[in-house]
Symmetry: C2
């Protein structure tokens, strides 16, 4: 569930999100939530139709209280951007003006560079039904637009804010391949460990006359070792697999097929390395 967690760092910096004449409190709340998800905090409203504060916005914000409480309301767009140095306008349609058009990735990188340089920036989002007027776009420095399905191009404002907020967050990462948590760190197996596993499984198979006829034995061993080599098993994975072979290597089943007294999950993953 959504919520703030006082033990974890609360990111709250970066461009102001400026909603021009938003109509529904729910949308304002979802915008606040999207901003909070990706570390933005400064929300400005120009002439919101249903006034401010808004209970519907509060409810839809899913505890993004720091964004909702800090929201500022302005009578005009000119006042809302007065203290900013650089402003993007979001729009889904081509305008006649001279302004440069940027992708969200490029816009976020530009906003990040200006943020690092100490500039104040903002991003304009238009009304639910028809976006920004040409006069409003003209107040911005550049345009940002989203790469969308040509036949289904319209994003709602909460979605558009989510994507720009997400790109803002990514623009601050050294590496877009980084993740907030990683797989459990596993030591790669050594060749000795892999060969030990080959030896175990081949011995158990040999005891059951698997390698037959003798002329095919070298090829069978080749194939088996290729199958077991390709995944590049880690040390704990080899440990899991050796436990499986040890169990299968018992002389007889304890129960006949389909008669096990308790359900066996059949999923080896995550069973730990203590099976051998």
């Amino acid at each position: 569930m959504a919520g703030t967690n006082s033990e974890r760092e609360l990111l709250a910096e970066g461009p102001a999100i400026i909603l021009v004449e938003p109509q529904l409190g729910e949308n304002i709340g979802m915008v606040a939530r999207a901003m909070a998800n990706f570390g933005l905090a400064e929300l400005r409203l120009v002439n919101p139709r249903d006034g401010w504060p808004s209970e519907k916005a509060q409810a839809a914000a899913a505890k993004a209280d720091h964004v909702i409480e800090g929201t500022k309301v302005f009578a005009t767009l000119e006042e809302a951007v007065a203290d900013l140095n650089f402003v993007y306008a979001t729009t889904a349609r081509q305008r006649d003006g001279f302004k440069q058009v940027r992708s969200p990735v490029v816009a976020a990188e530009t906003l990040r560079q200006r943020f690092v340089a100490g500039e104040k920036t903002g991003i304009l989002f238009g009304r639910e039904r028809w976006g920004l007027t040409n006069e409003e776009v003209a107040l911005a420095d550049e345009i940002v637009t989203f790469p969308v399905n040509p036949a289904f191009a319209s994003l709602n404002i909460a979605q558009a804010v989510l994507l720009m907020s997400y790109e803002w967050m990514k623009s601050g990462m050294e590496d877009v391949a980084a993740t907030p948590f990683q797989a459990v760190d596993q030591k790669p197996a050594t060749k000795e460990q892999l060969f030990g596993f080959f030896e175990q499984i081949e011995e158990a198979l040999d005891a059951r006359n698997y390698f037959h006829p003798p002329t095919k034995v070298p090829k069978m061993i080749d194939n088996l070792r290729a199958v077991l080599s390709r995944p590049g098993f880690t040390e704990p994975e080899i440990s899991v697999l050796r436990g499986v072979i040890t169990s299968l290597d018992q002389f007889a089943r304890r129960w006949k097929k389909g008669e096990a007294p308790a359900k066996q999950t059949g999923k080896g993953h995550g069973d730990g390395a203590d099976e051998e």
Copy 2:
């Protein structure tokens, strides 16, 4: 407003989006809309709480009818992924298993490579309240997780689907800086055009004794030319500016300040290149 447009290409390919035990029809509808926005079309539901079809989903889908109509329902996750070759599980929290954890960018690139190679792929999204179980995550090949504000980390499923769909769309672009439309193409000005503008403005200023005292004239001209050079004006921009100077260069105002008979916008942008 959202809607399909038969004149424009409808993208409908790529990984299946698989919602495990979704509760609210509204969320399923918003997922369908997000998928349509970024060219995905194959929605699968595992055991949806309120059944299927859903009027609420249809309403929230904002005319993503091709997604809603093609939605398939499965009793179990195993059945829902049975025909797929490679599956990601989305999760916001670290799991104990051995699975690799990927960022959305890397996951989308992997899905794109597998799509190009003819594989069928899917992405799992968990329940609204508590996501996917460990057993469900275990059915996937790898994990994908989002870079979020540590203190405000929870995305709703429509937001999570939106981000993965957006990254899927971007993974098919040659250049993430590309935009669906561009600024009006403008010829860069030649130096001759720039120098002609210098000459015009300097002559008009000289006629008003702007360049004063004589010892400072070279520095004043240097500074003025530096200000006018830095923006790298295009040919139509120079044309607009020459029109402005021509107008200002009239000997007298036609009306006193504040007495203009009609409001002047004062915004030179976008006024066209026919002013000179």
